[in-house]
Amino acid sequence: MRVRMLAAAAVAVLTMAGTAACGGSADDSGAVTLKLGFYAAAGDPADTTMRELVKEFTAANPTIKVELDVAPYVKFFERLRTQIAGGQAPQVWLSDGVLVQEFAARGALADLTDRVKTVNADDYSGIELNRDAKGRIYGFPQGAQTPVLFYNKKLFADAKVAEPTADWTYDDLAAAAKKLTKDTNGDGKPDTYGFRTYSPGFTESWWPIIKAYGGDIVTDDNRKVVVDSPQSKAALDWMLGTMGKDGFAPDFATTEGLGKGVVHTLFATGRVAMSYGIYARTLPATSAGVDFGVAPLPKGPSGRGNVAIVNSWVVNKKASAAQADAAWKWITFFSGEGPQRKWAELGEAIPINKKVASTALPADRHAFLESLDAATDLGANAVWSEYTEALAKRVNEALSGATPVDTALTSGQKEAQEVIDRFYAGQTQ
């Protein structure tokens, strides 16, 4: 008798759980529940602002109920990958721009191409950077990041060096960096370096430098690795020189040892006078009280090598029609002038609404906008994380001096290509 009761209870619980897991379509009253995911630290201004915007959105759209799924960046994507595998991912979430194609290629995202046609593309930055090899768009821009040259105004003034201009070349940068490198305590080792060359985050290091020197990393819809070239070698040789014979940049071990998240404190603490940094790097520099300016990346033999990452809203392919509509409503709401202006106040990303970007960014930060306009994407494809990891491993070996540059480029190209080929072999998409 007791066993039967337990079995009945178990069936009831499972039925209730199953029922709860389904749903998602609009009910008779037209109400729809939308699970919205984004990454932010608890209590951070980004977290607070996003919640305020969600409140505004639901107040304007009373038939849409929004449930939030929030976690800090790393944990958010760790959880998301399991949620996707388990069919429990949010209906709309904020994706790192370089991961959009990864999720799309695994069938997790709805194709937004037709929906994007309904907006005026000229009003927004970054839409084209999200287009895949077949012209499809799986993510709508939320905020953009692009590296520019950060410089410490006080260190420039102290060394009586003229501040960077838009006409600067890599030779100008090197000449200024040498003058800014100082050994103040006489221990034979600089206490202040002119430039931070290497970073574990290659967006602000070897990727734009290789492009400025006329090299490239991937071509042919980002499926062919072409980094093994004389131009790339020249770029990496220049970088090695800055950390070696020229001695105006901290060495590889120092910067690598700091790690991706901490390397930017080199600039924020005044240990380097110049550094490549994306828009978000203004936050730690401002928090640390550094008086800084930004300038366009210097010109190399083939231009500035501008790149950009466009973090984007994506819609779950498994969302019901009503949820997908509600998700698109949220995306267009967030891209609007009011929310974009509010988001811009955080100083975390370049607004993708061009009208807001041109007025919300102070005039002395417009180098970001010019850089964004000229930027190419960061080689995004379905295996971006894996192939860039394979490539970065070899490039880092070259920059640490462990492997000759040409050997590292050859093996890096081969190994990165293998990763890409392994995924796309037999793929029809």
Partner: protein
Amino acid sequence: MRKTVSYVLVTAGALVMLVPFVAALSNSLKSFAQYIQVPPTWIPDPIQWDNYVEVWRRTPFGLYLVNSLVIAILAVIGNVLTSAMVGHALARMRLPGRQALLTMALGTMMLPTVITIVPNFLLFRSLGWLDTLLPLIAPYWLATPIGIFLMRQTFLGIPKDFEEAAGLDGANPWQVFWRIHLPLAKPALATLAVFTFTTSWKAVLEPTIYLTSPENYTLPVGVLSLKGQFVGNDQLVTAAAMMSLLPMLVVFILAQRYFVRGTMSAGIKG
């Protein structure tokens, strides 16, 4: 003389071990600018007590504490009870294939957690347990391999005379387990309790995957939720980590005697 040298060496070792703790305590009392300062300073100036207040302001830290305690206490009860039962059966009962069962149980320890995370996620989803504390408690009520191994070794070390004497007095196997063997296994039980408590307390991956509502977060997830992408908030994360250490420290101090004895005797077979 030899004793003095030993004490000096042990004290020096202990001081070295304390350095990261002291550094963390110091960092938890710094501003962001001081936190990233090079060379770092040991004594914050000014001391930023506000970091601790800010953690409480930004997060329902008390709620995280309660969640972690509920999970850890229920995990300890479940694991100690069921691992002792399984360990006892494998050590003292004549079961066909008991060696194979033990090998299989221990074999599961070789599987990295990431391999089982998706199947477990699907299982808990079908049970309707996602975003509840149950996925973090229930597995401990099915005995754990380390617990089974520890308790089996302990029960193997108890002389058979005890159960034979109890058998002559009419005790059944349950009574032998509950009244004779279990009290004799107290040090191992305490060790297992501390191991389980600390494992459950510091777990990050599973709570991150299964819990989505902040009101269900555990302490480590709550601590990490303060970590920003661009501005690290490292001083706040460190302050939160210091606070989350306290309960674990209390448990360890209370059970220290058993813990040391238990780990020393776990490998001895009588």
